[in-house]
């Protein structure tokens, strides 16, 4: 079982959190902080597994994470999950994000948290792995996006125009930063 999925950036700012077990909001933030603290001090060339998160889990749980450019993807899992399998799942998830957002970067996650949730929903459900086939995931996400579009979407065109007006006086919105080498293949791991 996956207990939690956390995405935060190099400064510990949460970009997506998904707990599959209830924690109150302040506890969630504490967990994020602790996890960030544990993960961020590790070099990039050490292993991706981590024990010792005291707030979440316990001895049966592990943190399995990957670091892509500015983002950490952390999965908290128990012993019924295969460690290498979860690493691969993170890879599948990130590649899916890459496909859905076309060259995903941190800003995509910042501004489209809802969409990231929709994608994640197709990968993991209630703490259990739902689908690992990237094409299948992408297809389902796209079908649902299409359905949303056919309904007119949440914010139709006029709202967009207005939001442009609303932002006229604001300082320049930061340019998209590419995550860069997002398609790192897991070494020695044949794809599932």
């Amino acid at each position: 079982m996956i207990k939690a999925i956390l995405i935060f950036n190099n400064h510990g700012k949460p970009r997506l959190i998904r707990f599959y077990q209830y924690f109150a909001e302040d506890m969630q933030q504490q967990i994020i902080r602790e996890t960030f603290h544990l993960v961020s001090k590790r070099d990039d060339n050490v292993c991706n597994f981590l024990e010792g998160g005291s707030l979440i889990g316990g001895s049966d749980y592990k943190l399995i994470y990957r670091h892509y450019a500015t983002l950490y993807f952390v999965f908290c899992v128990d012993s019924s999950e295969s460690e290498l399998g979860i690493l691969d799942l993170i890879q599948v998830f990130v590649e899916t994000l890459d496909k859905c957002f076309e060259n995903v970067c941190e800003l995509d996650l910042i501004f489209h948290m809802d969409k990231v949730h929709y994608i994640l929903q197709e990968v993991v459900m209630g703490g259990m792995v739902l689908e690992t086939n990237m094409n299948e995931i992408v297809a389902q996400v796209e079908l649902q996006t299409r359905m949303e579009k056919s309904e007119g979407g949440l914010s139709a065109a006029p709202a967009r125009a207005v939001s442009a007006v609303k932002n006229m006086n604001l300082p320049e919105i930061p340019r998209n930063i590419n995550i860069g080498d997002i398609n790192i293949k897991v070494p020695n791991l044949s794809p599932f």
Binding site: I17, V46, G126
Partner: protein, 1252 residues
Amino acid sequence: MALKIVKGSIDRIFDKNLQDLVRGIRNHKEEEAKYISTCIDEIKQELKQDNIAVKANAVCKLTYLQMLGYDVSWAAFNIVEVMSSSKFTYKRIGYIAASQCFHEGTDVIMLTTNQIRKDLSSPSQYDTGVALTGLSCFVTPDLARDLANDIMTLMSHTKPYIRKKAVLIMYKVFLKYPESLRPAFPRLKEKLEDPDPGVQSAAVNVICELARRNPKNYLSLAPLFFKLMTSSTNNWVLIKIIKLFGALTPLEPRLGKKLIEPLTNLIHSTSAMSLLYECVNTVIAVLISLSSGMPNHSASIQLCVQKLRILIEDSDQNLKYLGLLAMSKILKTHPKSVQSHKDLILLCLDDKDESIRLRALDLLYGMVSKKNLMEIVKKLMLHVDKAEGTTYRDELLTKIIDICSQSNYQYITNFEWYVSILVELTRLEGTRHGHLIASQMLDVSIRVKAIRAFAVAQMATLLDNAHLLTGNAQRNGICEVLYAAAWICGEFSEHLEDPVQTLEALLRPRVSTLPGHIQAVYMQNAAKLFAAVLCGQEGGAPASSETAQEISQLLIDRLPLFVQSADLEVQERASCVLQLVKYIQKLRLKEVQVGEEVTALFSGELNPVAPKAQKKVPVPEGLDLDAWINEAPSESESEDEKPRAVFTEEEEPRYTRTRHPEADEKELAKRREARKKEQANNPFYIKASPTSQKGYQDAPGVEHIPVVQIDLSVPLKVPGMSSSDQYVKMEEERRQKNKAEKKKKDKKKKGDKRGRRGRGDLGPESEEDITPAHMVDIVTEEMPENALPSDDDDKDPNDPYRALDIDLDRPLADSEKKLPVRTHRPLESPKSPGDEEGRGRVLEEPKKKGKKDKRENVKEEKKERKKSKEDKKKKKHKHERGEEPGEADQSGELTEAAAPPSSTAGEASDLDFWLSSAPTGPPKTQEAEPAAAAPGSAPKTTPDSAPGLAPASEPEESKDTEPEEAKSSKHKKKKPKREKEKKKKKKHHHHHHHHGDAGGDESVQNGTVEEEEPLCPMSNYILLAENSYIKMMCDIQGNLQDGSQVVVSIIFENKSDGFLKSMEFNVLDSLNTKLQRPEGAGPHDCVTVPFQLPPGVSNEARFVFSVQSIVMPQKLKGTITFIVKSEDSSTHEKLDFKLHFTCSSYLITTPCYSDAYAKLLESGDLKGSSVRLEGISMPFHHLLAMICFHHHFSVVERIDSCASMYSRSIQGHHVCLLVKTVDQTVSIDAKCDESSLLGNVLDEIKLTFSQC
């Protein structure tokens, strides 16, 4: 209205959307909190509007804010509103928000039930999908119960997308609503072979999660999983299955043997590291389960270790980590194979990655031996010095202590060395583990008597240099060791070289900065030291009385500081000691010799008590700890005072030890005498070992220790801080010397072989000829003399997964096939009387589960349902049912019997067969293993889980659940009791009004008896035959699935002292009734009973008979032959019996509804008959219960003292009874379409009542 809409959409234009919110937050970095609070105000405004789009937008923003840590639970109702939007876009937003912030405590959740149900049955697969995903995150027990049926239906949805989600979510449903597991399981199993790989993978996932918690219930699936493993190419599925096998093998060693070959093949062939790794892991699990002498598997171990070495050597840190992880599993059973890779593991200790170093540390634990312990610890000490970061250092510290103290200090040959290591560890700054070191110091000096002198010397220097430890406030954790040091010095003060100096060290003003509990120990031990000094002085030259005077004065000078302490304990002890010293000083002025008497205050020795000792004190017969000792408990008395009252005797010794008695010494001595006597006679007093009962002053038997005297005058590097290194060197020299000596001895042939003394000291060390420097008399921890050896006190009764420990192999009664439904929901299914009970029961269910084993009565409830949908359902179930009965019957037995009976074919026998065809072939000894596993599982076969699932069923397919229960409960000597609960008509009326469309045939009646007084226990099992060797009880049941079959369950009980073997069962077939024999057997052959019986054991076997006509009762003669094998002889014995097939046994309890019942009676096809029973004094509901139980009827309707009952034969005859009672006379009018059957049934009923 139109205007309002226009207005709404214009407003909307100026609302912020999620992107605007994010942008805004990013642009207000300085005053983020303020900005967000204005945003929340805006959101609150938006939520007040009617426009659902605005609301959805607001909820979407809330979801984002929730991620930032803002509590958004106040908007829960709005989230529900958005969830119920008809547009997918909004619905999805609502569900996401709900899954982020709803939990079991969210009260609006109960409002969502109908909405979710609607979404689940939505024509759009994405509505359904979104609802399933959302539900998976916030499902509650209520939701699970209410929606379980809907989700179960979705498991057979046409779209694989829905199927896989429905399958996955079932796990969550099971967790929240364990009753759904049994009914849903067949379908879940079906999904293992779903054509869609995603669905299949989901099913594997769910079953693996289930099996991980309660593996034994899933053993029977092993063949299926094996098939999947050898056929699947999906690595995800393979990994899960292989992990599952890892959990199953410990339960079934034969499975392991079967697995080894395919797994080894996979290891050789796969290129996926993850798969390889899991294979290795499972092979390890198999090897562990087989660990008892399977020499031919050493190749597999070698293969695993070899592969793991490759992983560890890999440059990929992840593989290295996992390799070490797996290695530590092998270590437990095959330490030798791992030890050969010590070099590699020690290398990993230097790795830059902390995770890897920690894993390597774990491995070290198992790699130490007497030979290399010192070397390894030395290396670790180096790491301790180098380690930056306290976490890792603390980890090192605990590991060092773990390694050294493991299995009673097994590997320590030189305790001086160990004590110096401990002392060296005290130099660690800022460690959290001061108390750990302290407890080790205490433990070692208490339990290893020979080390006390050395330890005391070390502790004295430690106390002397206490300022080094306490100097820095940050080092606080380490000052715990002072606690140990002070205690050791005080307790073993006879070993002190200079007690006066130590006493002085204990009383330094600086001490008052230590934590209170340490100061308290200081005070107490100062008093002990004082006593020791006094005693020493008095024994010696009279001239030294000055010293005594000096120290008295010292105490009197220094103690007032502590008398003022803020800590109560310190204050109290200090003032006690102070007064004592003053008093003694006064006495001494009068030249009274008080030394001995003062020492007596502290005489006696403390023995280490095992941590579990208190728990293991058996409750003496006749002592009821829950009973009030005194009548009339006053309110004020707190509960925990009771046990203290009971155990005062036990605690007494402790009190007297710490008490400073004002009473005069004679009185004290007298009391002590009395106490000792009392203790000697008191079985609950933990007695000291004979040696320790000697007086305080007696040297603790060191002289019998034959070994080297360590020269303590070796100068220490730091004052007080011994360097452990020199002990390493000394130890090496000593070993060489020993070796040389040993050689000499060997030449002389047998020298005196001294047995090692002391229980704690330890196992054979054939590999190394190292004798410990101290033949240490390790005092083992004490346990109460009659402690129970059980170790089962570690189970957590609150484990949520325990509720899922449900026997899945027992056949589903038809009544269970559908989940219970709460009828006040607008379901298609009509309400039925059982529901109320069902709901009530759900509440009490968890409680029951816990106490299951203790329960004396198996509650049994019967419910009847009638569903308009039922027919459809039934068809779906049909093919399942076809395979189920046999398999389930048999595998049910697997848990009860060593092997399933050969008389019927089923899946469990498949499992057995499948397992027995393992390459190695199971040796005979293994036969016993599943049997051994069985008792453990038997009590959990949940006799009540069947009734626990409120059944819904149709007359024609219902099968009685009660015999099942009777059987399983029989073994536990519990009698089933029938209880029926009253239906609450009122509520039904209410439902009726609400859901008039629901079919509404409310006429259903059920057993309507509410009984307080218990009915005498009933059992279906009747004595079949008995002699001095064996007793047979039998129960005969019609087989629901096959109208021509009857199942006879026989419990064989071994009454002899010998082993019963080769039991063979045979009956003389009649034309009408024939025993079904295994294929290929002749019509007169015996059927082998598939188990053996050790003395006093009983077990059950089932035999199937085929019957042609059921209208007449039948008697068959039969014989059971068996061999009684006692220690010296074995004899062939036989026992004849008569099997009585009554007509009642052809009947099957079948629920019927009153309208159907009325129709049946009206049809006029039935022939009537009647019978009168006189002198029946039992209450009417008991009477009904007996008819139901013994003759397999169910109550259709009951009005006062009149009831209609129904049953059905295996061949479909309807039997209707109208039972009336007036003044001890019971008249039964009966109708049946077969008159001779009816006549016989009535005769049997009559017989039943004439017997009681």
